[in-house]
Point group: C2
Chain length 382, copies 2
């Protein structure tokens, strides 16, 4: 077993193009992962009319067929294949990070992503912003009777592909079926575990006055993409979700030696909610230069049309970064050198004043208190 995920590198794994894209995590589970990540096998196609029935959830032959013909081929990895009550993983010693999220997004397929991809990326991101190297993911599916098996297969394949893309296997899972009218096609709950390597010290307690606050890119894309996909926008152009895995971008910051104080991904409730939660948790004030907050023109105009504050709209591929002020420019360069951080920006700083309060400053010298949104402007965004 590999005791230190940072210093070893197995040439076998780096030759695999699937895991190469994830340089930080590839060596964590070296032997397990190379065995665990294979390409999907070809599965028998389902007819257009075949649907999920209650019997698929009964633990008998049909449940087994669902696993053997849909989930295993899509998620193909040796750990899952052992069919144990619990997946067994050899892990390096260290602090374990654990995170869970249910995904109930509607529609399930939207420009830039889908529920299955989102469930993998979202979990990876929660681990990555905690400073953890992702190790394994579990996936629990709640299916509504009547869901097309062909769609389920497509979602399973999207999940498998996303897991291979990030180099982290789906090692265990569960499927339940609920009666027609008691679900909405498909809900997915993913749980991720990761390892925080010894000596990596990232956490809210490290945020201090005079830290710079950066955002890794434009805000509001995911939420507005979902709204547009629901037909709620009087525009014809598509807005794409920013749905993406952030662990690689964060690994670049770590490797560049940036002293990361803390990170957070502003998902539900958006930029405003994440900033307020953090300011409140650390009892410091945040000052945000409103003109520095990157917002895509299409997202901005869609928000203006609907009277929605883009700062409160969900993101699924962005993170807030807190670093010492003198490292802000370096961090910005590292972020901007990666496709996912191209629009990164230094947006503000941490101050001793007004603890727990986020203040937005305009170029005209005016200020406003950025409040915690009272609810999401759009439910079932993730």
């Amino acid at each position: 077993m590999n005791e230190n995920p940072e210093t070893t590198s197995d040439p076998e794994t780096t030759s695999d193009p699937e895991t190469k894209s994830n340089p930080e995590t590839k060596s964590t589970l070296d032997t397990t992962r190379t065995a665990a990540l294979k390409s999907p096998q070809c599965a028998i196609p389902f007819s257009e009319n075949e649907r999920v029935s209650m019997t698929h959830g009964g633990g008998g032959k049909l449940s087994q067929r669902l696993v053997d013909e849909i989930f295993f081929p899509a998620m193909e990895n040796s750990i899952l294949h052992r069919k144990l009550d619990a997946a067994l993983l050899d892990c390096p010693n260290g602090t374990i990070a654990m995170t869970t999220d249910s995904y109930v997004v509607t529609p399930r397929f939207f420009p830039g992503g889908n529920i299955a991809k989102l469930s993998i990326y979202g979990t990876i991101n929660d681990l990555a912003v905690s400073g953890a190297t992702p190790v394994a993911i579990s996936a629990a599916w709640i299916l509504e009777e009547g869901l097309l098996l062909s769609e389920l297969k497509q979602m399973a394949e999207e999940m498998g592909a996303a897991a291979r893309e990030v180099g982290v296997p789906v090692v265990t899972g569960d499927t339940k079926v609920v009666d027609r009218g008691r679900g909405d096609g498909c809900y997915i709950t993913t749980t991720g575990i990761g390892i925080v390597p010894h000596g990596r010290n990232i956490g809210l307690n490290r945020i201090c006055a005079d830290d710079a606050i950066l955002i890794s890119g434009t805000i509001g894309d995911h939420g507005m993409a979902i709204m547009a996909a629901r037909g709620g926008l009087p525009i014809s152009t598509e807005i794409f979700s920013d749905c993406a895995p952030l662990h690689e971008l964060i690994a670049l910051l770590v490797r560049a030696g940036i002293r990361i104080h803390a990170m957070r991904d502003p998902t539900r409730g958006g930029f405003s909610s994440a900033l307020n939660e953090l300011a409140n948790a650390v009892r410091l004030g945040f000052e945000i230069e409103e003109s520095c907050v990157p917002i895509a023109p299409l997202v901005r105009s869609a928000c203006e049309m609907l009277g929605i504050d883009p700062w409160t709209v969900a993101n699924e591929g962005k993170f807030l970064l807190f670093v010492p002020m003198d490292e802000a420019e370096h961090a910005l360069k590292v972020l901007q050198n990666h496709p996912l951080g191209r629009s990164a920006s230094i947006v503000g700083r941490v101050v001793q004043d007004h603890p727990g309060i986020v203040v937005g400053k305009t170029p005209y010298g005016t200020q406003r208190v950025v409040v915690m949104p009272s609810g999401d402007s759009l439910p079932r965004i993730c």
Copy 2:
């Protein structure tokens, strides 16, 4: 950090009656757990009419209230309280076991248990039968708009109480709200992680010919309790679910020095399904003495009335145990000395013949092939 969960024992933790009931796991996370497990705080009662709204799932103020007023007081532990994107746990070195299950049982409250309790016990049992010492649990709730907050609070408290009972904290969670008519009140997905101590070698690969097969108690209780609770039985007496955590009973076997080859909890699909899965996985035959399989008289008569095979009915507090034949009597005594194993029985043996096939033998000398049930006789059992 404690490197070896088996050899150290903190007198501070053993003095706590909550953790004392769980002698095997108490020292795994010694410092973390004593800090993590406190009694629930008193929370403000909700009015009888307050219900879950879509805004509770929006990530804003109301979501925060749900967490602060319902989940945190019920689950009260220091790890959860850090409000991180991912919970951080100091774990001893070893193999990590990971398991996940969604719970969609209906009704949510039934004689002998409820959905929240079941979600904790079920996860603990999957870890325990894998030979793992449970370390932490995550809980993701999918709530339907309109659920009474008072019921949600009751379920959260049941979950917190069950977690304290088994001595394993709920360290992270998530809540989503779906529109009225798109759920069924409440679905819970729990994921558990545990550590398999070095040297503990339990797994299907260890099952071999001439192993004894034991069951830890009567079968069919959970499924028939659910059926009775749904009003599907023409009887007035209540059948109680066997819903219980098995880690303590399994720890007793380990401490008694029993060479456990493998274990499995026969949940969905029941005794028949679990045996068939295992026989098929290990490519050996199983012979079951039908008269030795314990079934409570009330469960037996309810099954007879409805023409249901009790061997296919779900259990939530039983496990199959495979041990060398010469240790079967010793294992049986250990099981029967614990309240949860009182009705334990040696039910059969593993044979080289008919690989993958489970054969039931009657006292009259006849035999039958025990087939994998084609579906569950009752959906949404767990």
